[in-house]
Amino acid sequence: MSASLQLTRAQRDDLRTVAGMIVPASDAYKVPGADDPAIQADMLATLGRDTKLVAAALDHLARLAGGPLAELDAARRDAVAQEFRKHGGAAATTLVRVVLQCYYRDDRVLRSLGLELRAPFPKGYVLPEGDWSLLDPVKARAGTLRRAP
């Protein structure tokens, strides 16, 4: 069963709203917010084993808000978000993690961070060898291994 079928419309709306509160769009950094449709679609498509906890988090959020999160004024929304994050436990932690793990693999976001749009394998990365003369003071100090009787 796809995860999107397990979240209600109201839950999906609140997920989008809270995601946009966690990571809003930024003109300065030329990045979308986590409420961007493509990022939201990624979240819903890959919720998988996290669906239950995310749904629980969204239910908690709905109880705190007393209605759709998007309909609250900004101050009330922030207060609800703070309460949610402070006392939401493992469910809130999971929801935030799901938002961030989908946000920080979006092409537009990675490009803005100067990261390559690819899996690590098979190309890998090049690591500078460095200057091993940095070890000279350690060698000069030496020291001794503790002896065993």
Partner: protein, 532 residues
């Protein structure tokens, strides 16, 4: 019924692979039963764009989170440190950081030197040839000549220093503290069919390149070519005994879930510090009502984890982030006892090069240093790619109340009782951890780091599972003798981390495998009178 085998090994991980390979030259019929399967590197996390997300699910280091059929659940609610492991051909070497220090000579004489715990019944010199043999087989990289570590001869050069290593080295030099390139099992050149490291960036959850040594690609191909039989997806429920009190074989569930009996003349357990006591306790019978090989009452007792005290921060310069093996350098500055520090024994340090963007975002948000809202982007760019870490591996002393027992309720997918962990961090360890955090803070501040955060202990840091079937010469105070045979059952051997008497302050896999090779060698020397 299956035909009897000469030697039955339970578990195909670090120690099971080593002992299988070593015994293969005897030409005995050797069978290994492994509850997991063969790994497929094409499915490893680094092959996909969602590589970091996988660490929170199917590639979590916690069997409780992964929940694969090959895993068994562990009730670790009553422990501040959660057990992490992996169940497959290769065992937890599939999922480890490949950091490769070994116990020091002084670690075998803790009672004599420091008046705590017990001395081992063997010394470092007894293991030296097996450390060397194991380093060749696993393929190690490093720089020989560390003045504060036992002399090693890694066949490959050390990993590059990278950006992070240079920052670490300069700060440690400024403080006048010891540091050295770590010995690791990351291949820095092509080695024995393994391709060299290309810096995929996260060694722990399996290496798609095959540069990180895991026993599925090192020992096992050799052992199988030499005639060892390896049966996968076979979970052992219990070891059976005969009327003479000798092990007669095992009852296991095969890949189809069918119960089987496998007779054997010798049984070797290689399930590590949680799996081994679980199996022994699950093998209770009328002859052994408290569990097999448990006349001492010490099966499952004296669990040692190595509490990790980790401190990290963010420097202005870029670090290696996720573009390098996570561990590259160690320090033994505080390894040996100095009572002026307020605790006995000591700790090793492994430095951490950095983290990937998802991990950085998730953890920093949880720590409260990455805000929600407008400022999120500015702060994230300050943190991401700038992390530097200092992790102290604190020596855990044996205490009987830290233990593995059988959970009265929790069971695995075959209905076999699961292990329960009861563990507290000792006052001595707490003082050691606080000392390490203070030194780590000095290091980070010298490196110019800000936004310093602490994980003490690392909650999901129960990688090292030691001490629960300890080695000794006194059957009342130990489970196995000085060459790995259980005191109570003369054809039953244990070769994994559970036989450690003390834990040292280093990652244990190198020593676990050296012990397995040593025990195999002892068995080969005693074949004519193995059961005397």
């Amino acid at each position: 019924m299956n035909d009897p085998v000469d030697v039955l090994i339970i578990g195909a991980g670090a120690s099971g692979a080593a002992v299988a390979w070593s015994l293969a030259e005897t030409k005995m019929h050797i069978l290994c039963l492994e509850q997991g399967g063969w790994m497929n590197p094409a499915e490893y996390p680094s092959t996909g764009r969602d590589w970091e997300a996988k660490f929170y699910g199917e590639w979590s280091s916690s069997p409780n989170v992964r929940g694969r059929p090959e895993d068994y659940p562990i009730n670790d609610d009553n422990s501040p440190i959660k057990v992490v492991n992996y169940n497959a051909v290769g065992g937890s070497t599939v999922m480890y950081t490949a950091h490769w220090p070994r116990l020091h000579p002084s670690d075998f004489k803790v009672k004599t030197l420091d008046g705590v715990a017990d001395d081992w019944p063997i010394d470092y010199d007894a293991l030296t040839p097996f450390f060397e043999e194991n380093d060749r087989m696993m393929g190690t990289s490093g720089l020989s000549g560390d003045p504060l570590s036992p002399l090693t001869h890694p066949p490959m050069p050390q990993q590059p220093m990278g950006l992070s290593g240079a920052i670490i080295g300069k700060a440690m030099n400024e403080l006048g503290w010891h540091w050295w390139p770590s010995d690791t099992t990351v291949a820095t050149m092509d080695y024995e069919g393994r391709a060299r490291c290309i810096n995929l960036g996260h060694c722990t959850p399996a290496c798609a390149q095959g540069a990180k040594s895991s026993t599925d690609i090192t020992y096992w191909p050799h052992a199988i070519r030499a005639g060892v039989e390896l049966r996968t997806h076979c979970r052992v429920r219990e070891i059976t005994t005969d009327e003479n009190g000798m092990a007669s074989g095992v009852v296991y569930y095969d890949k189809d879930g069918v119960e089987q009996f496998q007779p054997a003349h010798v049984v070797i357990i290689a399930c590590n510090g949680v799996g081994t006591p679980r199996l022994l306790l699950n093998s209770a019978s009328n002859r052994f009502p408290n569990g097999l090989a448990n006349s001492s009452g010490l099966v499952g007792k004296n669990l040692m984890f190595h509490p990790y005290a980790q401190i990290y921060g963010y420097v202005k310069e870029p670090t290696d982030s996720n573009r390098a093996p996570p561990t590259c350098l160690w320090s033994k500055e505080w390894y040996d006892t100095d009572l002026s520090r307020g605790f006995v024994r000591g700790y090793g340090v492994q430095f951490v090069r950095g983290a990937g963007p998802v991990f950085e975002a998730v953890v920093s948000e949880q720590k409260g240093i990455l805000p929600w809202g407008e400022d999120h982007h500015r702060v994230f760019r300050k943190l991401n790619g700038h992390r530097l870490g200092f992790s102290a591996i604190c020596e855990d002393l044996p205490e009987e109340h830290n233990c593995v027992t059988l959970d009265p309720v929790l069971k695995d997918s075959h209905g076999i009782p699961a292990p329960r962990i009861d563990y507290t961090i000792s006052e001595n360890s707490r003082k050691m951890m606080d000392h390490a955090l203070a030194r780590g803070r000095e290091f980070l501040e010298t490196a110019g780091a800000t936004d310093i955060c602490i994980n003490s202990p690392i909650p999901w840091g129960g990688w090292h599972l030691l001490g629960t079937a300890r080695m000794g010469t006194d059957p009342k105070r130990s489970v196995v003798n000085e060459w790995g045979r259980t005191h109570d059952v003369k054809n039953l051997f244990i070769v994994d981390g559970s036989i450690f008497v003390t834990s040292g302050g280093v990652n244990p896999t190198s020593t676990i495998q050296a012990l397995a090779l040593y025990i195999a060698d002892q068995m080969k020397q005693r074949l004519a009178n193995l059961f005397d």
